[in-house]
């Protein structure tokens, strides 16, 4: 399932604005990314519970970059799709890619000595979650959450 997954492509379905980008190169960048994500969620008008959920999901996908690709970037933006407001988060790396996406998305599976709940957990708490990965060509995760 090859899915378009860049922030730019989102413009087809709505307005993307307040875009910010965070380089993910060391563990402190994980904190920066989730804090910027929370600020964006606040500005969008998410409840404080959803702000925390969005920050947590960002923390997990940022950690995934550090664990498997060493470096990458996370782009965050607000969305407005015909009055429906939300946020979009795109995590991109040029790392080794994920050999078996189905396996990587399984609860409890990990090759990095972690809990293996990060990606499936992030997918569970976001409204949209798309993962595109090819061996040797990196991984891109696009996830969205809308205000209820």
């Amino acid at each position: 399932m090859a899915l378009q997954s860049s922030v730019e492509s989102q413009t087809k379905v709505g307005i993307v604005f307040d875009e910010t980008c965070v380089s993910i190169e060391r563990d402190m960048d994980i904190v920066t990314a989730r804090q910027k994500g929370r600020a964006l969620a606040v500005a969008t008008g998410f409840s404080s519970t959803d702000q925390t959920i969005i920050a947590l999901a960002i923390s997990e996908i940022a950690r995934n970059i550090i664990s498997y690709a060493q470096r990458g970037k996370i782009t965050l933006a607000r969305l407005d799709e015909g009055g429906r407001r939300g946020v979009v988060i795109v995590a991109r790396d040029d790392g080794p890619g994920i050999p078996d996406i189905e396996l990587a998305m399984r609860d409890g599976y990990s090759t990095a000595n972690s809990l293996g709940v990060g990606l499936p957990g992030a997918k569970r708490v976001m409204d949209d979650f798309e993962l595109v990965s090819a061996l040797g060509r990196g991984t891109t995760i696009t996830m969205k959450k809308w205000i209820r």
């Binding site: 563990d27 402190m28 994980i30 904190v31 989730r34 804090q35 929370r38 404080s48 519970t49 702000q51 925390t52 959920i53 920050a55 947590l56 999901a57 923390s59 997990e60 950690r63 609860d107 972690s114 809990l115 709940v117 990060g118 499936p120 957990g121 992030a122 569970r124 708490v125």
Partner: protein, 124 residues
Amino acid sequence: MSVPILKQGDTLIASIQAALSDQDLVRLHDEIADRIGRFRSRGVIIDVTALDVLDSFAARTLRSVAYTARLRGAKTVIVGMQPDVAFAMVQLGLSLDGVTTALDLEDGLAELGRIANQGGHRVR
């Protein structure tokens, strides 16, 4: 951002002041393990009130602190988890299985006192 660890009687109190990086969490883990031996502590309280989120790495590290402390003869209580942080953890599927938690510092100290009275600190 290092975490101050106070010693009160035979209890260590680590009060997290702001969001922590992975390295900060690992340092906290190692310092608590070290101080339990140095101060012959029997109880450890980690106050996570100021944590913005508790992700998979933080959950794993806090569990490791509690298990390590237990092997060193001390009981750990995690206190102050904010409702949103707890809710987000549950939604994502994270847990602190096997780790004692309490609402706040006061309850955490009471819990340690209760365990001490039962003689449960070193006998397991």
